[in-house]
């Protein structure tokens, strides 16, 4: 692995990563770009699963006393819709961009631990399958995505529904934590010469903040889940009511994770939007420093406001007040970001590509989620709003209007870089408008149904409650979103097979990833770049754009000389082997390590479905296999 900027010595390269196609090459890849693509494909597949779940939920609620699915099935579907969209769609969609973009943006040849990176992906895939499969057998988790104890204990949830949830989230946590450690190391250690922290692209900055949030937030839910796991499988009493358990233990631990998780879901999108808006405004990002600091501040404050999910539990006026005010304060850095995006566009020469439309829609819709967020940051008003459809409207404006719309913008923006092909702008426009209209039709009326008394998570509601029209509109909106999703799928698949005609820098952007061919060669940069400003590519191609900026080298001639011609637009497409660049070997071992680890977790299910003996034998067997796979992985040379 290339670990620094030093020009690669001619390496006596053994079988380097040359296989670029075929199933085996995907199973063994350790290339961050291909792992990013795997994340992208997998999370989009899960998007269809989660979307189908949502569609069935909305069909059931289209009319009062709906009979589409039973209470049991509905409860499984809403639990899995939330779990899928958060852990299997939005987080891994962000991970797709972390993987693909971070090394490219900082001028590195791969991530710090390429095989750990592959391991993270395979754990995510197998964990996602593990937690999703029960949906098809009517044994899916059914206690909601925040699985409040004591509802999730054996006493109130016998059977294996919750087992899948507890174990599935533990598995997915391993994936997130491994990836976070990897990206933190990558960003700290592998930046190209001249890529100081103050020159890092905003997406990398926001991703950097998110990785720390993952490392700090996941231990909280891991502990909460271990307690529950031990209660369910080994008879401990952390949440056992008869033993005097306090159910608020779970709620606090969960939300200490759960609230930072919201920012984990949305900060990467802040980053993507901060890449898209300057490009299509033909101006640098307004207030770079403040954008960085506000992102860090959001991450920091995000850990101090978890109990605003719990204003109804009776924490007392003092705690309610502190958490309420703390929550409102997050509005300040978030507001700064919104103003800075608008200021970035102000005075620009706006090009309304599909990516730009998604980015603008993100700002407009996320604002709505932010405003309603302040409305329930106030404990007295929250007591009328919490656990109603008003909250459902709020977090869908944050996570759909915010995260998903922004990520979709990112996909349209980066698809040419990822594949060398353009997504159709015409189909993309259809996709955008179907999503924009559909999401507003679906989620805006929920503000009303909630404030008019409709509780969330109900599989049915009676006629004549004043909610019928709002619910019907919400369901109609989902049809628009569904059409948009299918247009997107068609666009994606068609372009995937389409003509390879995207140049290295199709949008005239300013950051490093656009200075290399599309798709980038396996080694990314034939010659490691020397970075002189926040928009190194603009320094060369549009010196007038960065000439006045204090952050740039004042003398553009010096800059151009420093970069040298190959930096301007690298066109090198020879293989790493031909260039003598050492690349990590492809290996199947992380896949097996991930598979055996997931099987090890899954063995616990045998305790409830088969016998102790079967479970123990299975656990010992998979443990040995896991250790074997890891040993074999660690003892094989990297490159």
């Amino acid at each position: 692995m290339a670990s620094s900027a030093a020009p690669a010595p001619a390496f006596a390269a053994a079988p380097a990563a040359t296989g670029q196609s075929g199933l085996w090459s995907w199973l063994t890849t350790v290339d961050h770009k291909r792992i990013g693509m795997l994340y992208l494909w997998t999370s989009l597949a899960f998007l269809f699963v989660g979307g189908t779940e949502a569609f069935i939920l909305r069909l059931q609620l289209a009319h009062p006393n709906g009979q589409v699915v039973s209470a049991e099935v509905y409860n499984q579907l809403f639990t899995m819709h939330g779990t899928t969209m958060i852990f299997l769609v939005v987080m891994p969609l962000s991970a797709a961009f972390f993987n693909f973009l971070i090394p490219l943006q900082i001028g590195a040849r791969d991530v710090a631990f390429p095989r750990l990176n592959a391991f993270s992906y395979w754990v995510y895939l197998f964990g996602g399958i593990f937690i999703t499969l029960p949906v098809f057998f009517n044994v899916a988790p059914d206690a909601g995505w925040f699985g409040y104890a004591p509802l999730t204990t054996n006493q109130f949830s016998p059977g294996i529904h919750i087992d899948f949830w507890v174990l599935g989230l533990q598995i997915l946590g391993v994936s997130s934590l491994a990836a976070a450690v990897n990206f933190i190391t990558t960003i700290i250690h592998m930046r190209a010469p001249g890529m100081s922290m103050a020159r890092m692209p905003m997406f990398t900055w926001m991703s950097f903040v998110v990785q720390f949030m993952l490392v700090l937030a996941f231990p909280a839910i891991t502990i909460a889940l271990f307690f529950l796991q031990f209660d369910r499988f080994f008879g401990t009493q952390f949440y056992e009511l008869a033993a005097g358990a306090d159910p608020l233990l779970w709620q606090h631990l969960f939300w200490i994770f759960g609230h930072p998780e919201v920012y984990i879901l949305v900060l990467p999108t802040f980053g993507l939007v901060s890449e898209i808006t300057p490009t299509f405004s033909e101006k640098p990002l307004f207030g770079y420093n403040v954008m960085v600091f506000s992102g860090i501040l959001i991450g920091f404050l995000g850990f101090g406001v978890w109990a605003h999910h719990m204003f109804a539990v009776g924490m007392g006026a003092t705690a309610d007040t502190i958490f309420g005010i703390g929550t409102m304060l997050i509005g300040i850095p978030t507001g700064i970001k919104i103003f800075n995006w608008i200021a970035t566009m102000w005075g620009g020469n706006l090009r309304f590509t599909v990516a730009m439309k998604f980015a603008i829609a993100f700002v407009a819709l996320f604002l709505i989620g932010g405003v309603s967020g302040v409305m329930h940051a106030s404990p007295p008003t929250d007591l009328q709003q919490t656990d109603t459809y008003f909250i459902v409207a709020h977090f869908h404006y944050v996570l759909f209007g915010g995260s998903v719309m922004g990520i979709m913008g990112g996909i349209y923006h980066y698809f040419p870089k990822m594949t060398g092909r353009f997504l159709s702008e015409k189909l993309g426009n259809w996709h955008f408008w179907m999503f924009f209209i559909g999401m507003n039709l679906t989620f805006f009326p929920m503000h009303f149904s909630g404030m008019l008394g409709m509780p969330r998570r109900v599989y049915t509601y009676d006629a004549g409650q004043g909610w019928d029209t709002f619910n019907l509109i919400s369901t109609i909106g989902v049809v628009f979103q569904g059409i948009g999703l299918f247009v997107f799928a068609y666009n994606f698949l068609k372009s995937w097979k389409g003509e390879k005609n995207a140049p290295g820098d199709p949008w005239s952007a300013g950051t490093l990833e656009w200075s290399i061919p599309s798709p980038p060669p396996e080694y990314n940069f034939a010659q490691l770049p020397i970075v002189t400003s926040r928009y190194p590519l603009w320094d060369i191609k549009h010196p007038e754009r960065t000439a006045e900026l204090r952050h740039s080298d004042p003398d553009t001639a010096v800059v151009a000389e420093a970069h040298g011609v190959p930096m301007l637009e690298q066109t090198e497409t020879r293989t790493a082997k031909a260039l003598g660049i050492p690349m990590p070997f492809p290996t199947i071992k992380p896949l097996f390590a991930a598979l055996f680890m997931v099987m090890l977790f899954a063995s616990l299910i045998f305790l409830h479905t088969a016998s102790l003996q079967v479970a123990v034998v299975s656990m010992i067997g998979t443990t040995l296999l896991f250790i074997g796979a890891v040993y074999s992985w660690l003892t094989s040379p990297l490159e």
Partner: protein, 431 residues
Amino acid sequence: MNRTPTLRLGPTLMLVGAMLALAACSTQTYPNSTFTSHTDLNADINAVWNRVFVLGMAVFVIVELLLFYVIVRYRGKPGAPMPKQVHGNHTIEMIWTASPILILIPIIVPTVKTTFKTQAPAAAGSLQVEVYGHQWWWEFRYPELGIVTANELYIPTGKTVNFTLQTRDVVHSFWTPRLAGKRDLITNKVNHMWYTPDPALAEDVFNGFCAEYCGTSHANMRFRVYTVSQQDFDSWARHQKTEAIGSPALAAARVAADSAARRAPARASVIPAAAPAPVEDAGYVFPAGKMGAHTVPKTPMPASVKFDDALLAQGDAARGRTLITTPANLGKAGCLTCHVIKGEQAYVNDDVARGPNLTHVASRHTIAGGIYPLDPSHLAHWIKNAQVMKPGTSMNTFGLGEYSPLLKGKVTVGLTDAEIADVVAYLLTLK
């Protein structure tokens, strides 16, 4: 591209329009609206809401208009000159860092005041009501009055009610949207909430819901709140604390049966003789005619539970009472193993009963956690196969030959339809 702004304005107009519509609409259209001031608590909440809403809307409208202006004004034109390159502006950034603080202060001040005011202990002399959550029904107790009832709560207007909130199983949340915000019922914890219904409030009924997901039938955990005059409340309370009386004829039969039991002690029933209760006026009950359409449950009856309503006319209350109070029948009609009927043999007390107290069940308007109206037909269907009538309920299937989802098989020891009609007749005497 130029259409972008038009549609973005859509939500703004929708919101403003709908809010105006809401303000104009009566509670007929939105019978569970939270925008009411029927209690001091909700008036306080809405005062904060109004402040937050106006400021929030101001931010929303200004920022969306700004965005709208930018995308119209600066839309790209072919051959446009290079935009002026700006990397930031300290003054402007300071302004929009500080201005949110100026907006937040007028929100924070009433928030803090109201939070402390509404969470202070209730005034002395408040009416004490204990609320217990169960999967999936509500138990209401008036400890000072000796009343235990379920799913229908009576409160006098003009008097502060202090709710003590607890749960017998998982976490629930007590919510009557038109009267107050919600408060959770947390296991191994006691929560409080108090409010005073407006003295001017007419004899009225309000829908209540469980607002914290609590398992399979979370959606079927509803209740009603009746606000009544102090006088009517007293009348209701006086009657509710009496034992189950039943009809005068049934009461007379009970007295006769009890004296017969005393004459033949060898054949004495294990059921102790109930003290002959004086037959008194049935007390105030919220009039059925005043139940608004939104408070009468309209849950459709599952097609698979069939009961011939013609049998109900032949139901005999005395036979029904004998059926459920004869110990030998506990296997097929074990009502009293989960329900308390004050005055009848008690196999459980209210603290461990799994089902609602039925002492005055016939004085209620709903059954099954408020999802069905209380009438002979619904009662009969409910007893026959509650498992199908309400998913996940702990009430067994009692209809002989019915499929029970709980047993995953047919009920072999159960009640015939005629026997169910008798039990229904008896329950309906429990005014």
